[in-house]
């Protein structure tokens, strides 16, 4: 009796031709989807660089490109990126956890309205509000603060993220109410219950919103573009464009900088793969 674990039943086909074909397809997939990234990795460490293309085979191993990158302020841009993603993620996670606590554990007047607001912000693509956002950032209503050219201008707008709040809310709903009640009977106050009972139980979800938040903030492009008109505040992704056409260094520095901009998100993904896949499917399938 054949088994039918998959739609095509490929697992069951074990003949030499079938096996070879299967592995050719899988190899092709890996090459096509990782090839450009491997090319970047190899070329960034390569000595002689054709300015028009990059090589999949290393041509002399060197750190030259990374050394020259320092002259082009690449490490300053990298530092800016880390400052923004560090504080941005911290803020985003705190905001999400607090908001999720209210949405998951409290019943209060106006809750439907708040849920609607969350969904509305997820519906609204940030590209569309880029122009008015730049004006709002240059003169915050009521506060009259100018955030253009500051880290805060790049951090605060990513501080609240609907996706992150909703993922956290769904997770917090699963935490048994009995634990919370027990803590209250023991005399723990609101904040204490929150920090000692609820939060530790939500650690898996913190991983999910952490890794998604990281990729989301690291990938910001339009926001730093409108907030940082001067090159001293540039983040690495938006600085790449300026490293492109350099007569003396060719594309070496661009490739080194690209690799530096790429690695953190790849590392975050590989380290938190399980959480990533979990957030991906829950976010999309529940949609």
């Amino acid at each position: 009796m054949m088994r039918f674990d998959t739609a095509l039943g490929l697992e069951a086909r074990r003949g030499p031709i079938a096996t070879t074909l299967k592995f050719l397809v899988y190899a092709a997939m890996v090459v096509v989807f990782t090839g450009p990234l491997v090319g970047l990795l190899v070329s960034a460490f390569s000595r002689t660089l054709d300015p028009t293309s990059f090589s999949l085979w290393p041509d002399g191993f060197t750190f030259d490109n990374f050394v020259k990158a320092a002259d082009k302020n690449v490490y300053d841009y990298l530092l800016n990126s880390f400052v923004v993603v560090g504080f941005g993620l911290l803020l985003q996670m705190c905001v999400s956890v607090f908001a999720a606590y209210a949405l998951a554990r409290k019943r209060f007047r106006g809750m439907t309205f708040v849920m609607l607001i969350m969904l509305a912000t997820m519906m609204l693509p940030e590209e569309i509000i880029a122009i008015p956002l730049s004006l709002v950032l240059s003169d915050l209503p009521l506060l009259n603060v100018d955030l253009i050219g500051t880290y805060a201008g790049m951090i605060l707008p990513v501080g609240a993220w609907g996706f992150s709040i909703l993922v956290m809310t769904e997770f917090m709903k699963e935490v048994p109410v009995e634990l919370e009640e027990a803590a209250r009977i023991d005399g723990a106050g609101e904040l204490r219950t929150f920090f000692t009972i609820i939060l530790p139980l939500c650690r898996p979800a913190l991983g999910v919103i952490g890794v998604f938040g990281f990729t989301m903030i690291w990938d910001q492009y339009l926001l730093p573009l409108i907030v940082a008109p001067q090159s001293d505040m540039w983040t690495l992704p938006i600085a790449l464009r300026s490293l492109r056409s350099d007569e003396e260094v060719g594309i070496g520095v661009l490739l080194a900088a690209s690799l530096l901009a790429l690695l953190p998100s790849i590392i975050a993904f590989l380290a938190f793969q399980r959480q990533f896949m979990r957030g991906l499917t829950s976010g999309a399938v529940k949609g």
Partner: protein, 309 residues
Amino acid sequence: MTTPTLTTAPPDTTPSRRRPKRARRRGTLIAWAFLAPALVLFLYFKFIPMFEGLRMSFFEIRYAGDRFVGLDNYGRILTDDAFTAAIWHSVLLAVGTTVGSLLLGLVLALLIEGPARYLWFVRTAAFLPVVTTMAVVAEVWRIMYHPADTGMINAILGWGGLDPQPFLASEDTSLLSIMGMSVWRGTPYDMMIFLAGLVGVDRTLYEAAAVDGASTWHRLRHITLPALRPVFWILFTLAAIRGLRVFVEVYVLTNGGPNGSSEVLMTLIYKLGFQKGELGIASAGGILLFLATLLLTVLVQVIRRRQAA
């Protein structure tokens, strides 16, 4: 309503004789306090810009003072050749990217479905483009698309005996080239969501079909694909909206060139707003884009309801 709290009396709530009411009011107060940071940030960086954009779209924005122009900005957009071309390019790019990644994603998901360890490796490797920073992906593809025969993709085409293509450098192929890169980045995402959907397909149906002597094609057509329908619509909506609002890809790869052949709505809005100072028209463009995404979402919902009914 709320679970009664046994904590010590709160010092800040308004005094009330009846305990449950006070507890409820206190619960509401705490809930709003926990929500406050998120709501303030949303207000400042989402809703105020949104309404400011809506307001600006009806004005001519000048230093001397804004002048109300009614629907003129919208009229100018819809009659301007550059704008209509950009709208057309955005739609083409959205359709091409969406269809391409959905089809490829589905085929690949079917091919690599299964619990084997090496399949897990293939999946992880294939998923990498999704998590990479867009700006980096675009720079890498710009280099790979180099038009001379030394360019990476042209070299590969050369092995197959094909002539070198101009890719981004030609008016005829610039949009297609951007589409190619977007499909490359979008496919693994769709593939992964389809895979998650495939897990939910009822295995006993496969066995029943096998007993009835159904072919693989029939099984696919009548069991697998119908089961994936909800996933398909979600992916379709997400991809189409992402396609319409595309910015970084185009900005980095071609910046709309050559000769405006790959100019999309967002790059045009960006240029108008930040380089030419036409804030009113740029805002109107943003509002139109928002309406388009809203319409698309509602439309998909309606179709889904119809199908479900």
